[in-house]
Symmetry: C2
Subunit: 300 residues, 2 copies
């Protein structure tokens, strides 16, 4: 299957744009427009792959399950056909988070969308903190979507901190893992990147895959965000970040710059992810020892 | 079992000392003395747990399998009884790497030693580069050793880059993962920690365990080392490091300081690793979804 498309991953550079946005909690109409505008802006800048934050259509800091429900949409919602219309005539792909209504329950989901429509939906399986009050966790592994630009895997926020998840996506052939996220701001030591970025760097390096994270800007009901929007290469190094490491161990105030200033843009040769050789005798995935991982660990 | 000992992990602080050493390749007698001296020095400084580098008794950059064989010892070698004698009267524990002869083959192994003798031996399962020419990979998961200071898991160098390994040790109850290592120096972006440190930080944070890495100093047959000796807390932050992040993206020259200057010392409350709660609704290990990890990932 994967050889049947003309692919920018096989022929050249792929531009990845992660837009760090500030949706308004509960304001579905505003947020749909915000997301569509961000995609239009990214396309105007030549984006092949656009990543928007987790729950970008709904906001995050819900007070009640009822409030969350008012922002929920199905995959048949006109928003997705509007988004595909924005992408018409392009081979560009968008990955974004949304509050999904399905089966009479709510999911914290992400959609992979291109001009042909919704290619895949993934429901977050590792829910963070109060999300457990509003959402049902997904029960399926995320898919890898074969696109004109390479194979895109999807994780949402806290999912990325379970190394089993990027590993599965890499084993399934992902070149890039797109991560819509809402990282609540916590302090970290001076001069270091946020812990969530370190987790992403480790996942990229350990699997030889690119990772693109779109975080939040702004403040929502008092909640500040890490503003960790970043693109990480297959060696685990940041190639683009919306904001740098803090210089203080205290949580810093949100940037005063507008949302449109906060983005990460990287031009990547995604096909490089397909070479897992890291020495004449080593292969990142081939060196795995599933026989060992399945054993019981003795306590001596 | 684990409650049957008086434990510094339950009663107070544990001092962890990682000694960054420069053994001479092939000089078994010299290196045994170097290792014993390093342990004596650490004990004099109050060490409860001492970590020495990978293959500290043999050196690393072998030219031939025959040379490696000349440095190989069994667990019955007098070195280990000498080491236990140094530890006599203390509850201190040493974790160090050695070239192991067993079953007519060579292993890149690590021993956990206390005053009672060798408590456990682990054979490295993920061999790096030319190690594959000299060593047979181990076929058993590393043990977790219950000591007076808490439960110690062991990994060796490249093992740590397979997230499955620290995960297994954490699931088996490890408080601290001791990592004898020889990290060959490679370049990395200015102002960032070496990639191997980032991997260790991620493993510590993802599992809520402490990690203590003892790397190499000096230059061996032209091979420079990362000098990444460091102790990392259960949140993934460095509490002590022998050397800081580089300020240049080029590999830097080895430090001119003597080996005895290069160490990481940290006083840790290891019992903190037993609290995996990271929010009112989250538990680092409890949040795992083995049902998801076992599924086939679809390619769409």
């Amino acid at each position: 299957m994967t050889g049947s498309r003309s692919s920018s991953a096989q022929t050249g550079v792929t531009r990845v744009v992660c837009e760090q946005l500030a949706p308004r909690v509960g304001d579905l109409i505003h947020n749909k427009g915000l997301a569509l505008d961000a995609v239009r802006r990214a396309l105007a800048d030549g984006a092949d792959i656009v990543v928007l934050p987790e729950l970008v259509t709904s906001g995050y800091v819900f007070e009640t399950a009822e409030e969350a429900r008012t922002t929920a949409i199905t995959v048949e919602d006109p928003f997705f056909s509007d988004l595909s219309a924005v992408l018409a005539g392009s081979q560009s792909v968008v990955v974004l988070g949304f509050c999904q209504a399905a089966d009479d329950t709510l999911y914290n989901s992400a959609a992979v969308v291109d001009a042909s429509g919704v290619r895949a939906v993934y429901r977050k399986t590792h829910l963070w903190d109060r999300e457990t009050l509003f959402f049902t966790p997904g029960d399926r592994t995320p898919p890898v979507v074969d696109t004109a630009h390479g194979r895109i895997g999807v994780l949402i926020c806290y999912d990325l901190e379970f190394a089993e998840m990027p590993r599965r996506l890499a084993l399934a052939g992902a070149d890039l893992i797109a991560v819509p996220t809402n990282w609540p701001l916590v302090g970290h030591p001076a001069g270091q990147y946020p812990a969530e970025i370190i987790q992403a760097q480790s996942a990229a390096r350990a699997n030889g895959v690119f990772i693109a994270c779109a975080d939040r800007s702004g403040v929502e009901r008092g909640q500040q965000w890490t503003q960790g929007t970043a693109v990480i290469d297959q060696f685990g190094w940041l190639t683009s970040a919306a904001t740098g490491p803090t210089t203080s161990s205290a949580p810093s105030a949100p940037s005063a710059s507008s949302a449109s200033d906060q983005r990460a843009v990287a031009d990547l040769f995604l096909h490089l992810s397909r070479d897992k050789a890291i020495s004449p005798h080593n292969d990142l995935l081939g060196d795995r020892r599933p026989d060992i991982y399945a054993q019981e660990t003795p306590l001596l």
